[in-house]
Symmetry: C2
Subunit: 502 residues, 2 copies
């Protein structure tokens, strides 16, 4: 029988074959997550889906796999066809891919069930997505997204709803006044500006948009270089520019820098900067309608700003686009100042469902990166570590029943508790309790059994008292934080320690 | 600008290219889940991980992928090497597989981090697993499991903990007295019986164990046939037997049917049936220690039974094994009586971590199939459908602001509410609200605006009243469930409807 000291030692010391090869390794980019992080991410998902639900969205979960041809070439954040997915062939030779976002499966689902869905179809989803990219620090190949989308909703007020809801999601996640902003733009205005400076080729248009996206990073003069001949960075590397003439550069910059304090001031400045083309008028009308709807939603000026330098997935979005940005700086474990920046975004994508149905179906949505958001609030210490279980030491190796009974009794009283299940002695058991973050340990040896008592040690109080004790001998005599209690008082005394600890 | 009737119609009617090919399809075996099912599964996971946490286990999430060689050949439920997984090659040509259970990744994690873990390492996990098998009705290629394991815990009381916790998990899931049983056996006793009847070859041993597994289904005489020459079923198909002689058949059956009302009576009956070999003594000692620990945990006799006919994953388990079974019969949507049967199981697997470390590390665990369990309780109607959002109709297509404001106001009061975001008229909007399960709709047209009121319709009350109305004309005049309220009373009147509805 297992459980005696001898067999145990033979087993755990392992007199068997030597370690064969190093199998105990995992593919890069797939993180193992311990309890505190899981809890932080789960709490974030609950808060944000709580917002989505309150706004009337309903849950939908799709499977991990889609047919590769159904996923298509749309990656919202990158302009790369089909790259970056995990794909394999099914037993009927059809290619399947793990979803790289939650929107493409939604488009497939909506198209497949369009006839029977209540329309507009408003769904939220939360779950992992997979991207087959080079992993790096903080850059994973599996991460959590949490989305809401309205499929079959054409009006700009549906975009405004996404934007106002994104702001509410940021607040639910824990961001306060001034700690975040939803930055809004529209493809129509970007198109108007690109047309206005005569940028015809896809390559030049892309170069201009990429330059706009760098306004935060390189400032006006750096972006001016990128719009013109090109820019040399400090290391001497040269990036070729879009080749606009001086007037063109001025016009694009006037547009990109038209952001003002309030949404209505920005609208006015944009009116000057974008010209009178059809897409200019459409874009301005979109932003005006969004502005009006945001007022109806009572979205504060600081929460939602119009920002003409916002550029997102070009092949993907067809109208308003927006980005959720954390502005506050946080301090990480090593004391470094960290600014997380963009934690999510979205916009209107009227062409995605049309891939399936041949019909244009208007759609708009928002996606938030849970891992980044949870990391931001974990970094700033806003998510507390969880309390460990009360550990009942097992001092009778032949018959652990008394320890099992005590742990059982604590659990029945609603406390988190376990009897020590390993095979080690007293000191390792204490060390175990300490490493599990136990608020207290409970001990019952033969003495205690005979006297009808239990020994309880308050580990936090013990540590506080121990800090003032100088010698080992004094420590052993004082037994800081440790006391005897009548067996009948077990639950009450342990509960008092656990509650004081919270 | 979008949002006017004309552009909308053109867009949603889709005058564009005809539907190209049928892309809107998904791979078989990956279910799309709607809100009620998601909620049921989520609630089940929360209840069961709540139990695991209270017993002191801590959360661990590993990634979807493991290296194929790290996953190894162990599938707990089936004796098939390496088959049935989804695998692909990483960019460095190494093979990766999606996890087929939560235990193999745990073994990899424990081996990889063994030096730094608090031991025993007690973790719970919940999440999807993937099996590349032929899908069928109720048989998916992606499903949810929820596990707890103790790695580094050798004593039989650690197995008893799993068993008692499994019983508590069943109760937390909603099973009452007599509606479930945890059926316990041990590999050691099975080995003793196999040795006792001289079954030497792996094939014969497997045939005997498979026959035992059929006791529920075929009864004593059917199993006797399978242990002897073989069994012919009603269709005339013949299954070859294990070829035991009459005495061998009797001895195996005496063992398999040694189950009694109480655990102690079963132990006594088993003592007669299994002989005196070393594995017989080891097995009996294991069950006795489990029995003693179950008493310490105060596990009711009916919750945990010793059942010698329990057989599980032969290459995998090394000691006690057990199965969680739902006994209650439920009635499905079509009125058929359904018995779900096994919803989970577990046991001791002392060899799994040794694959990585070369050292034997004792381990024991429990896994429950969330989808099956949720289905069981959804079938019996114990998981209620969720309430839909209050829908504010959008009657002013030019400026939806008032509808947005009303929905916003309801949400700020904590109610689930949305303004209608589609582009259809009054009747489709009412139909939409109905299909979303809205408890109420709110309407504000020009009349209401001028009078400072809102029109509210209680949809459930309306349906009740409408059932008594005979003519269409009468219906239109009576407007059942519909009333006007002062604008300032919006929240209070809607809340009253929502709360009455719950």
């Amino acid at each position: 029988m297992r459980g005696t000291d001898k067999t145990l030692k033979a087993e755990t010391m392992g007199k068997k074959a030597p370690k064969p090869i190093d199998l105990a390794r995992k593919p890069r980019g797939f993180p193992d997550k311990r309890e505190a992080l899981i809890h932080a991410e789960q709490a974030m998902i609950e808060r944000i889906t709580g917002v989505y639900r309150r706004w009337g969205f309903e849950g939908l979960d799709t499977g991990a796999f889609e047919y590769t041809d159904a996923l298509g070439k749309f990656l919202p954040d990158e302009d790369r066809p089909n790259a970056g997915v995990f794909a394999l062939q099914d037993d009927d030779d059809q290619w399947m891919s793990l979803r790289y976002d939650l929107t493409a499966p939604l488009a497939r689902f909506a198209a497949e069930n369009w006839q029977t869905l209540a329309k507009p179809f408003r769904r939220y989803a939360a779950g992992p997505v997979w991207r087959n990219e080079k992993p790096g620090p903080g850059r994973f190949r599996e991460f959590l997204q949490c989305d809401a989308d309205s499929v079959g909703a054409a009006g700009s007020h549906a975009d405004a709803e996404m934007i106002a809801m994104a702001a509410e999601a940021m607040r639910a996640a824990g961001a306060a006044d001034g700690e975040f902003a939803i930055r809004v733009n529209t493809r129509q205005l970007l198109n108007a500006v690109l047309d206005g400076v005569g940028a015809a080729s896809a390559e030049v248009r892309l170069t201009i948009l990429r330059a706009l996206d760098k306004l935060d990073k390189f400032g006006t003069s750096g972006v001016a270089d990128l719009l013109g001949a090109g820019r040399m960075d400090e290391s001497g590397d040269f990036t070729k520019g879009a080749g606009l003439d001086v007037d063109g550069v001025k016009r694009v910059l006037a547009f990109a820098e038209a952001g003002r304090e309030t949404r209505s001031d920005t609208l006015e400045a944009l009116g000057q900067a974008v010209g009178t083309s059809e897409s200019a008028q459409t874009g301005l009308a979109e932003l005006k309608a969004i502005s009006r709807a945001l007022e109806a939603f009572a979205a504060p000026e600081a929460d939602v700003v119009f920002d003409p330098s916002v550029v997102r997935g070009l092949e993907y979005y067809t109208g308003p686009v927006f980005e959720a940005e954390l502005l506050k700086e946080t301090v990480d474990e090593d004391g470094r100042t960290v600014r997380i920046g963009s934690v999510g975004g979205g916009g209107r994508y009227d062409d995605l469902v049309a891939r399936f149905t041949g019909q244009k179906v208007p759609a708009t949505g928002f996606s938030v990166g849970i891992s980044r958001l949870a990391a931001a609030f974990a970094i700033s210490g806003e998510i507390r570590a969880l309390n460990g279980p009360v550990v009942v030491l097992n001092l009778d190796r032949e018959d652990p029943s008394e320890a099992l009974r005590l742990a059982s009794e604590l659990r029945r009283a609603g406390l988190r508790a376990e009897a020590y299940m390993g095979s080690s002695g007293m000191r390792p058991q204490m060390k175990y309790a300490d490493r599990r973050g136990a608020p207290a340990v409970v001990m019952v040896g033969e003495d205690e059994l005979a006297k009808g008592v239990v020994t309880i040690k308050d580990l936090k109080e013990g540590a506080r008292q121990a800090a003032a004790i100088e010698s080992n001998q004094e420590y052993r005599e004082a037994r800081p934080g440790q006391f005897e209690a009548p067996r009948a008082e077990l639950v009450a005394r342990v509960r008092a320690i656990v509650e004081a600890d919270q």
